[in-house]
């Protein structure tokens, strides 16, 4: 693929795919931006009119906006923390030789295959329910007052549920990374006088840095748009305690039928996602360079 002709041919060949992908992205984006500049309410069809930046004004001055922003960042940060730290530890465990390794690895991966709605329902009704849940039973069996997770610590509970879903993903990626570590390096470190904790800190963890970066970047993309878990468990409440940006957009466009306001929220969410992405790439992107 070096001659001029072959390069031109290559460009021609891939252009349909590239153009299709571009349209796929540009058209919805352009429509969202357009709607966000309209006064557009589904309860008043045919009454659309130009609104300028009014929708943005309303969106930013909405008292739910700040809490949604904070909740989004807390949710993303919390789940990332739990899944990376937990994932490293689980990967360390799974990397050991033990009987039934294959089955255990499969079981660890299982939560990732459960649909978000289902897992949220299971957690809500079977684990965290203050009357019937397993946690309530555990609390009662040691003589404690059951803890009403989704009312008393709603955001933490959701972070817990989402972490449970993403932990397997992180563990799996980190496990494969750990398996690619040359065992002679660990032996060399052992000869060099590094005890197990220092071997972990100086050899294993730096080796994992690239995999951790990948986990953080991929998870962030999905965690910015967590929705099902919130809808099923708390419906954004109590108050706005578990409303993130995605959920706020949903509330405004589908519960209040205000498409214009919802679109403005969508655009804000896109901008926020890009800001987060820029920060992430700045902080950890250099790990991806070979």
């Amino acid at each position: 693929m070096a001659t001029k002709a072959s390069k031109t041919a290559a460009r021609l060949m891939i252009s349909p795919a590239v153009i299709l992908l571009l349209m796929w992205m540009i058209v919805p984006l352009a429509m969202t931006v357009y709607f966000s500049l309209l006064r557009y309410n589904l309860l008043m069809p045919g009454m659309e009119s130009w609104a300028g930046f009014e929708n943005y004004q309303y969106f930013f001055s909405d008292p739910a906006f700040t809490s949604a922003l904070v909740n989004t960042l807390l949710l993303v940060g919390g789940v990332l923390f739990v899944s990376v730290v937990g994932g490293v530890l689980i990967a360390l465990l799974l990397d050991q030789d033990f009987w039934g390794q294959g089955i255990v690895r499969l079981l660890v991966l299982a939560p990732f295959f459960v649909m978000p709605t289902v897992s949220a329902l299971v957690w809500k009704n079977m684990f965290m329910n203050p009357v019937n849940g397993i946690f309530a039973w555990l609390f009662k069996s040691v003589g404690l007052q059951p803890f009403d997770f989704l009312t008393a610590a709603p955001l933490m509970s959701i972070i817990g549920i989402v972490s449970w879903q993403w932990l397997p993903f992180a563990s799996l990626i980190l496990l494969t990374a750990m398996q690619s570590l040359d065992s002679e390096q660990l032996e060399a470190a052992e000869m060099d006088g590094a005890p197990p904790l220092k071997r972990f800190w100086f050899i294993i963890l730096p080796h994992l840095s690239r995999a951790i970066t990948v986990v953080i970047l991929i998870e962030t993309i999905f965690l910015l748009s967590v929705f099902a878990e919130i809808l099923v468990t708390t419906n954004g409440g109590p108050g706005t305690a578990t409303t993130n940006l995605t959920f706020l957009v949903y509330v405004q466009s589908l519960l209040q039928f205000d498409v214009g306001l919802g679109s403005a929220g969508g655009v804000v969410a896109i901008i926020l996602a890009n800001i987060v992405a820029i920060f992430l790439m700045r902080m950890i992107g250099k790990n991806l360079d070979a």
Binding site: E184, A189, D192, A194
Partner: protein, 333 residues
């Protein structure tokens, strides 16, 4: 100091006995080479000494005190691995500093030792590079540097040259020998290459299926191989081994003659044959002589300028006093 004594050391993986109990003495300052075909247990033996594997039986004494229960770090040995095992995320300087950092040696002393090692190993210009930016030979030197700065009582080398190309291997061989002459520290070196063993060792330990076949200086092994295995393994090209009538004539089950101890003549001699492949190296010529009735091909070394070619009929005459005789068990008579 670095006197290492193995007393009845054995290693079993499950039911498989990789190394039957063996005894070995390594004197302080000696350059000892473990040599043998692949799978003979030489690397396992080295790892037992290093402490990376636990012995199944027996004791390892370092400078007279029992080191068997000690962790690898506390045995005071340094190891150079086959893959070099450099830490890829650290600069050369940090790689070399790592063992000292773990030992808690203060910064100025660390710096002094790093500078000394870098100077000795020609690494001064590369100290701030990552291992990934170095060539194979340089990586090898970094690995050696990392071992030197610990000032160990003995160095352990696990086939350190097997990843290098032929020219570099010869160079590194000289460097390691020079290093040994300068440091006068005990070195244990594992290789499957008998040329490395012959050129570097003070003492060679020939291993075969976990057993020690013979221990001795390179020339001792060359002159007096204790059995057929050692005879065939030491020396390049391999010694010719004949059985049958030719051996019976000398009252032995097997006789061995090295290629360099057989005379070649176009007119007369003891055994008649025809030249098959011949290798002209300039300084020497190696003939693989066929149809002798002794073995499939008899390897013979002749002068570099000898005027014999493929297909010529030749006569071979062994030097009578250089014939090695072995009995039915393969042991030397």
């Amino acid at each position: 100091m670095g006197r290492i004594t193995l007393e009845g050391v054995a290693k079993r993986f499950g039911d498989v006995e990789v190394i039957p109990p063996l005894n070995l003495d390594i004197e302080d300052g000696e350059f000892v080479v473990f040599v043998g075909p692949s799978g003979c247990g030489k690397s396992t033996l080295l790892r037992l000494i290093a402490g990376l594997e636990d012995v199944s039986d027996g004791r390892i004494l370092i400078d007279g005190s029992d080191a068997t229960p000690l962790s690898p770090a506390r045995r005071g040995l340094a190891m150079v691995f086959q893959s070099y095992a450099l830490y890829p995320h650290m600069s050369v300087r940090k790689n070399i500093a790592f063992p000292m950092r773990m030992a808690g040696i203060d910064e100025t002393e660390q710096k002094r030792r790093i500078d000394n090692a870098a100077k000795a190993l020609n690494l001064t210009d590369y100290l701030d590079r990552r291992p990934g930016q170095l060539s194979g030979g340089q990586r090898q030197r970094v690995a050696i540097g990392r071992a030197i700065v610990r000032e160990p009582s003995a160095f352990l080398f696990d086939e350190p040259l097997s990843n290098l190309d032929a020219a570099l291997r010869v160079g590194m061989r000289l460097e390691i020998s020079e290093l040994h002459n300068r440091l006068k520290t005990t070195m244990i070196y594992v290789t499957h290459d008998q040329v490395e063993a012959m050129t570097m060792a003070d003492k060679i330990v020939v291993l075969h299926a976990g057993r020690i076949e013979q221990v001795g200086s390179p020339l001792e092994l060359y002159r007096n191989p204790r059995n057929v295995f050692v005879a065939g393994f030491i020396g390049s090209p391999r010694m010719n081994l004949f059985t049958g009538a030719a051996a019976a004539e000398y009252g032995a089950e097997t006789i061995g003659v090295r290629p360099e101890h057989i005379g070649v003549s176009a007119e007369n001699g003891k055994w008649k044959g025809r030249i098959g492949v011949s290798e002209h190296l300039g300084s020497d010529t190696f003939f693989y002589v066929e149809d002798t009735g002794l073995a499939e091909a008899v390897t013979v070394r002749a002068d570099g300028e000898v005027a014999l070619r493929h297909g010529d009929t030749v006569w071979l005459t062994p030097a009578e006093d250089k014939i090695h005789r072995f009995d039915a068990n393969g042991d030397r008579i």
